[in-house]
């Protein structure tokens, strides 16, 4: 569980994170932290992992407050698996040495180290490069090694900062599938500016712009608009007029469908309550072929929320 309340981070006069609050736990699924470059995503993650200290605000990780108590810091850090943005590694170490080092320093129990390492090496397909120096690894293997190191102590909270940056499409799919598999048991936050990644992987999205949260909703809720498409025909009633007469409908557009008696009506609702419109039109003598909310692309939503 991650609980953030009134978090503010300033670098001198510049406010990187401005009074944000959110709550994430296992039930949230994968939470995507989305925002343009410089929005405050990485700063937020760095504060959550203890790398940076906040200027103001209260953070609780797994029920432990991130305060001045050193013991709490250590306990919280044991529970977090963090993959930093630039994926830094010690170039002189071998893959196997690095994983061992991370297992010991993250204080994984001695009798579990071998089992956990074997599991991650197999799952992330690192067998062929175990004795390769980290400096000689390809981008994909670097990312997988860093991910294995992040998860080596089986943390309950996983924070991944742009985990697929620089990977080829096959590697991206493989890492995304792996991340999706983790979300069943873990609290997982993932930062990205790739909208496709959010659509494919995340259940919930927190959009940050200029240090402030501008949206915090489920992905499908965010994509939903207050536009409803109705495809219908009626021999006795003027559908356009009837729709205009409904109080919940703000605006209606009529479109002809080629070689069909049916017409498409795009209704703009006053409130995001399509069920009310549905209940109303049931009483009319219309033949309705389609009634569907018009989904907006995440790109549209993102632009709307982060420009101006």
């Amino acid at each position: 569980m991650i609980k953030v309340k009134d978090l503010t981070v300033k670098y001198g006069e510049f406010c990187a994170v401005d009074n944000i609050s959110f709550y994430v736990d296992k039930s949230s699924g994968i939470t995507g932290l989305l925002g343009p470059n410089g929005a405050g995503k990485t700063t937020t993650m760095r504060v959550l992992t203890g790398y940076l200290s906040p200027t103001n605000g209260h953070i609780e990780i797994g029920g432990i407050p991130f305060d001045d108590n050193t013991k709490n810091h250590i306990e919280i850090k044991k529970r977090i698996g963090y993959l930093p943005e630039s994926n830094p590694l010690y170039p002189e170490m071998l893959v196997i040495e690095y994983l061992e080092f991370m297992a010991y320093t993250k204080q994984l129990e001695q009798n579990k180290i071998k089992e956990r390492m074997d599991f991650l090496i197999e799952t992330l397909e690192l067998q062929s490069h175990l004795y390769t120096p980290l400096s000689l690894l390809s981008k994909g293997f670097r990312q997988r090694t860093a991910l294995a190191a992040t998860l080596i102590h089986d943390p309950e909270i996983i924070i991944l900062d742009e985990p697929t940056t620089g990977l080829d499409p096959n590697q991206i799919i493989s890492i995304r599938n792996f991340i999706k598999g983790l979300s069943k048991e873990k609290t997982l936050i993932l930062s990205t500016h790739i909208l496709k990644e959010v659509e494919d992987v995340c259940d919930r999205v927190i959009i940050i712009n200029k240090g402030k949260i501008v949206a915090d909703r489920k992905v499908e809720e965010l994509q939903r608009s207050n536009l409803i498409v109705i495809v219908a025909k009626s021999h006795r009633e003027n559908i356009l007029q009837e729709l205009r007469n409904l109080s919940m409908v703000k605006n209606v557009q009529e479109e002809n469908i080629i070689q069909s008696e049916f017409k498409r009506y795009i209704c703009e609702l006053r409130e995001d309550k399509p069920e009310r419109l549905f209940n109303e039109i049931k009483h009319f003598d219309w033949e309705v072929r389609e009634f569907a909310p018009l989904e907006r692309s995440l790109e549209e939503v993102f632009r709307e929320l982060t420009i101006n």
């Binding site: 992992t49 200290s53 850090k77 630039s86 590694l89 010690y90 170039p91 320093t105 204080q107």
Partner: protein
Amino acid sequence: MKSIKYLYKKELLSFFNTPSGYVFMVITIFFNFLFFFLGIFDLIPGFWDAQIASIESYMNLLPFTFILLVPAVTMKIWAEERKTGTIEILKTLPYTEFQLVFAKFLASWTFVSLIILAAIPLTLSISLMGMMDWGKTFTLYLGSILMAGAYISIGMVCSALTKEQIVAFILTFFISLFMFLSNYYLLTQHLPPEWNFVFGFFSISYHFTSFSKGMVLFSDLVYYISFITLMLYVNVQLIKKY
């Protein structure tokens, strides 16, 4: 101590995982041996000229050696972590800042101490040639190791101040040179006599004098331990601010 074992091991191995560690070791030992046998002009007589079964002149070379060796050893300690971004990994491990600083300090101290202890075979060989003063030999080793610790602690602070290794090297070199020379007439000749005493007292080389005479003074031990502790404290504060 148990908890920092793995950090310490990784740091110590980092000196031996790259050629630079071996290069530092070999060059330092080679020149120390060379100057020990041949001497440096009239400053330090060569072993064959002095005709004394003692390691003292070898140990007296070490303060000069440290001024060049220690900046080279310590320049990467924090500067490289910051430049490559691995500091983010290090600081999010379940350790306190003090444990991180202390593990790195111990590893560097061990590495430089190994270079000092490389003179043991030489010491044993010399002891076969005449009557060796073993007490003095022990205090020379102890003093050298403590002095190395003081220089390393300066180097770590300098490395924590910058992302550039070369800047860390130059800073450490000049501060170490100042801390060494402040006991010598060359630097203090224009100062009032009372300032001479103050400079001398705070000088790292001043507190080595008694060790080189075969004595272990409590005040010198306190000086080195306090100096190292103070520098490590400054280092911890710098790391916290990243």
